[in-house]
Symmetry: C2
Subunit: 453 residues, 2 copies
């Protein structure tokens, strides 16, 4: 074995540049080219895909996009370049001078000296057509190409920014990141239908199960996070979760992402709601500040009803019956189309791990949901039952005592009051971008009857 | 639907503090308490688990740990506190004054005014014994408790730091993060044995397959990343991957994490190796700087042979036959126990997507592996075949033409030279920490015959 410092030294003399785009050559991303201040004829090289071609008498205008921003770079070429080769969708390398643009539409443009077509694109066969705005349903048929449209480009850049912002929020607040397992032998949380996992038929092993016991895809990392909050106090996970539900809804997927957090020594829902809000606000502020054009595109073209409204309000409600989608919608609407925290649900409707409020005759648990307009439940959380005997009773009631001895152990050895929550990441994106269908905010949607690529 | 700015405003007036640990109360994490400069009697509250108890004539010394650092906070209490209640493993809340410690072992200590036992811990039943250093094999039996030991605490804090550093490296270098799918219908990459996914037996649907086609757990996000590099130029993913291999090796798991990157307009292996090195160096530098004590603990107790050596060397080799573990080990040893890049493997040994070097009679592909001491293959990468006709031939040779029409499409519409790599995240941790068994660098290891919790 081998020390980290030793390995670092061993590699020190090999190369110095961290990344090809930082090489001495004047290779620039479109984003960096567009941001150039006082462009005054520097020779640069830009690479990307042609998004539009416009031919005038003496001049040819190209727009080149490399996915680093929504905006494309305008390339100006004289008529010596053959416009037939420079087709929509083709990939090109352009060398030239970065100059101030005479037009108000952009700050800079690239005066081409050399244009090389790297890969051409047959307009006849290419499913994306020049100057057409394709419906989202149409684009879903081409998961390998739709990311080259403006709208999917914007959504996926926002997704990437939000992912980074979520990691930063937790790191900045002292949370330890945990990879909770994807394959699990917990099958009885009651969080929905499960996918089972077995080696593919080609290699069936003699044993009944590869893992000796039935194994499933996780529906939540919560219980595993609780293990870790008993060592690190504040922990989070951000990974895929699964439901084998037969649903074609615009709010459900078979594979989706959850952000989950668990906090030890946390004693009331108010403290939990503060973290939920902190996460929502910090992430959203970062996204709005880092990719305003991408957010605006979604609001403008996808959700034209989208308006920046000015009222500010929140409702905290007690509730005495289970909430279905219709109820959630009603509640949000009734509260002025505002995000609504709903707290304290009846014990008999909720899973075994939620903390008993001991408030008979209502008999509720310390649960909290955050409902938002258009999407419904965005966050779900609760205090967890940290008292051994209460939890033992709940497990017995559900017939789960044997399977959850390890979970009871957490209450036998240095138990602490704690709580946590989960946020559906795709629903979060739907919410801030106003995207109607959840299938359009994930790169490769999986749902009943569909698993393309 | 509802705009992001609107939601932000709606939530603005509800709460202000981002996180409970920032509340006006003087609640401090152990890490922050230990870092306090000029401690001079501030009243603070610290929470955590008792790691040791030492009783002297008039004084009681406790060490309290909350997982925010390897080091515990020393609590000094007078004999009025009952030491029998303050047992190893119990959780406590301590209020008192933070003062300079008279001992050289620590800068500060907490003079207790109030100690509350939150959850006790029965030493008799607790599998972790006071003052014992348990073997790693023993700890693996208790995945729900082992994170409370010093060594697992350090490993998992390093894992969390490395995760954050990897996200930062790619963000800082302009890569877009992509969640590549976990469930996929690609079953023929030849990267190893597959797990198949079906709804659990309880809810077998009438159709043969939930997704209409057989679906598997991903073995790599590469092909999906290639889709995205055709839109965003530079992309990465960091997620779970799976192999249904019947292996009990110290280097293999059924579920493990891979960092994968894909870069468009990349034309030679040298540029790819620069990114691989940049990732390795930047991540390792960050880990060494942010948690030196955790790294040191691993080097000291787990890998006592670990030495910071001073030589610096690297080998680039051409190779003409397949490499097995023994060959890898030999190569690394032969090159002075240094990381070794091996490039240009025979085409007939490698998958269809690698770029043909057209260098007959050797006939190699532009592949690169980075081998490191003790671990073997840490990175694997290649240029991808971007030329339609070359790829078409390779697919035909492998009988995959029909299944990979979508992959051929990427070469029909604006194809670009590109390349990418994958790094095994657990192997990376093994490498920098000197941990012998891969099962000890992941929170919940899954392998043949084992899927605990």
């Amino acid at each position: 074995m081998f020390g980290a410092r030793c390995l670092l030294r061993a590699l020190r003399f090999c190369f110095s540049a961290p990344c090809p785009r930082h090489k001495p050559s004047a290779k620039l991303s479109v984003r960096d080219a567009l941001r150039a201040q006082n462009a005054s004829g520097e020779r640069v090289k830009v690479q990307g895909w042609i998004r539009s071609v416009r031919s005038q008498k003496e001049v040819l205008f190209l727009h080149v996009n490399d996915g680093t921003s929504l905006e494309s770079l305008q390339v100006v070429a004289d008529s010596s370049f053959d416009s037939r080769e420079l087709a929509f969708g083709s990939s090109v390398k352009v060398q030239g001078q970065l100059v101030k643009s005479p037009s108000k539409r952009q700050n800079v443009e690239l005066k081409a000296e050399k244009i090389e077509v790297v890969g051409d694109c047959d307009a006849k066969d290419f499913p994306l057509k020049y100057k057409e705005r394709h419906p989202m349903e149409y684009l879903r048929q081409y998961p390998h190409l739709r990311c080259r449209t403006n709208v999917l480009g914007s959504i996926l850049r926002v997704r990437s920014e939000a992912t980074a912002a979520i990691h930063s929020f937790f790191k900045d607040n002292g949370f330890v990141h945990i990879h909770t397992p994807i394959i699990t032998s917990n099958d009885c949380e009651g969080a929905g239908e499960l996918f089972q996992v077995e080696p593919s038929s080609k290699i069936k092993v003699p044993e009944e199960n590869f893992f000796n016991i039935p194994a499933f895809l996780t529906v939540s990392g919560q219980l595993h996070l609780e293990v870790m909050s008993g060592a690190f106090t504040q922990v989070f996970t951000f990974g895929p979760t699964f439901r084998a539900e037969n649903s074609q809804s615009r709010r459900h997927l078979a594979e989706f992402y959850m952000v989950e957090a668990e906090i030890s020594f946390l004693e009331n829902l108010q403290d939990l709601m503060q973290v939920m809000e902190g996460l929502f606000k910090t992430t959203t502020t970062t996204v709005l500040s880092n990719c305003p054009e991408d957010v605006e595109l979604c609001h403008k073209f996808i959700a034209p009803g989208q308006k920046i409204r000015t009222y500010a309000k929140k409702q905290l409600s007690n509730w005495g019956a289970d909430l279905h989608t219709e109820h959630e919608k009603y509640l949000v609407k009734h509260c002025g189309n505002m995000p609504v925290f709903v707290i304290n649900y009846p014990l008999k409707l909720k899973p075994f791990y939620m903390r008993d409020n001991e408030d008979s005759p209502q008999h509720t648990v310390a649960a909290v949901d955050l409902l938002v307009p258009g999407v419904g439940e965005l966050f779900g959380g609760s205090l967890r039952e940290e008292r051994y005997h209460f939890l033992e009773q709940q497990l017995a009631r559900s017939g789960l005592t044997e399977a959850y001895q390890w979970y009871l152990d957490l209450r036998r050895f240095g138990s602490v009051p704690h709580g946590g929550f989960g946020m559906g990441f795709e629903r979060y994106l739907q919410c801030i971008l106003g995207i109607d269908n959840i299938k359009d905010v994930i790169p490769f949607p999986r749902f009943t009857h569909s698993c393309l690529l």
